[in-house]
Symmetry: C2
Subunit: 186 residues, 2 copies
DNA sequence: GGGGAATGTGTACATCCGTACACATAATAT
DNA sequence: ATATTATGTGTACGGATGTACACATTCCCC
């Protein structure tokens, strides 16, 4: 150990601190869950004093709302972009498959955040609105290539595949994902 | 108002109190979520003093584990019973459809408990084991009538349909549930 | 029926949380 | 340059929570 380790917190007046706090909140939610998300934990992760969080946000709910909104926005955007880049239905099917396979094998955090949002939405009207906006947007993206009924059912199937796989001991392989989706779409 | 309303808590020495506490815990989880589940709230719902909860359970986690285990057991049993009562595949499909439609239109609590269990399982190894046992059991039930791959994918589809419908503004109709399942099973 | 074990109860305590708020510092307008 | 505002910081407080524990009551076996 080398001395008392300077506390060193000279980072006064940085713009964009609010943004960093939202990112820190998402990190905390993914790591400890909504239940473990506190002002103090967010401040610790963002390396700012406690008072800074209460200054930038009127309440914890406001932090959660902004964090989940940002996450949903980003996720929906990925969905949108991939599906708007293809023209025919076959390519759309491939896009959906690779999307799911990547979301699955990719960031585990994304799934955790989704589930955390679901349970939070079950009791918080504001977060429920965020969830519904997210769902609606991904459905709209699917409706570029599939009829509304198919889009909705396909959305549900995707959700189930991701959730089921993430909680299972042996995750589904990309091949199984492909098979399930193709079997539904025929 | 008629008087000071007798506090009246003469219920000393009732066997099965532990069971009632587990039921009370499930009620609390469904109403307030895992995050809102505390010793005191469980005691309040079960109408017993605080000390009684800490006497019967070593920790809050033990209460949650027992509660979720009981719920998963009951849910899996329903699944089992319905699917073991039919013989041919067509009847099995109908059983699955009515199962989902009833779980959907029926107890909203069941869905909430499922989602709460999912998020709790994401961070608690003990609860993850409970979840996996539950999943395995429902898969086994499906495997009575479908091959393993189909059973797993169908399980995921069911999960997605239920979850998606419950969080949406306009829930899916039984007809839409039927269509989605039939479309997957062809 | 007596004594030890099991079960039940009330209180107390250390800890953590959200939030409030007084004060400090930097940015900006005049 | 000065005044006004925006931003940042540290501390404090009331409330809730998990758990420990001393004491009461009932059960059960002899």
């Amino acid at each position: 150990m080398s001395g008392p380790a300077a506390p060193r917190r000279p980072r006064r007046h940085d713009p964009g601190r609010r943004d960093r706090l939202i990112d820190a909140a998402l990190t905390v939610i993914a790591e400890r869950g909504v239940a473990g998300t506190t002002h103090r934990e967010i401040a610790r992760v963002a390396d700012v004093p406690l008072g800074s969080v209460t200054y930038h946000f009127a309440s914890l709910e406001e932090v959660l709302r902004e964090a989940f909104t940002r996450h949903a926005e980003a996720a929906a955007q990925v969905f949108d972009r991939r599906l708007s880049a293809v023209r025919d239905r076959d390519a759309a099917v491939e896009a959906v498959i690779s999307l799911v396979a990547e979301d699955l094998l990719g960031s585990q955090d994304d799934l955790v955040l989704a589930v955390e949002l679901y349970v939070a939405a079950a009791r918080n009207p504001v977060l429920r609105a965020v969830t519904q906006a997210w769902m609606q947007r991904s459905r709209r993206a699917l409706e570029r290539h599939f009829d509304p009924t198919t889009a909705r059912q396909l959305d549900a199937l995707i959700e189930g595949l991701v959730l089921h796989s993430a909680l299972s001991t042996d995750p589904m392989t990309p091949g199984q994902i492909r098979q399930a989706i193709e079997r539904y779409l025929r």
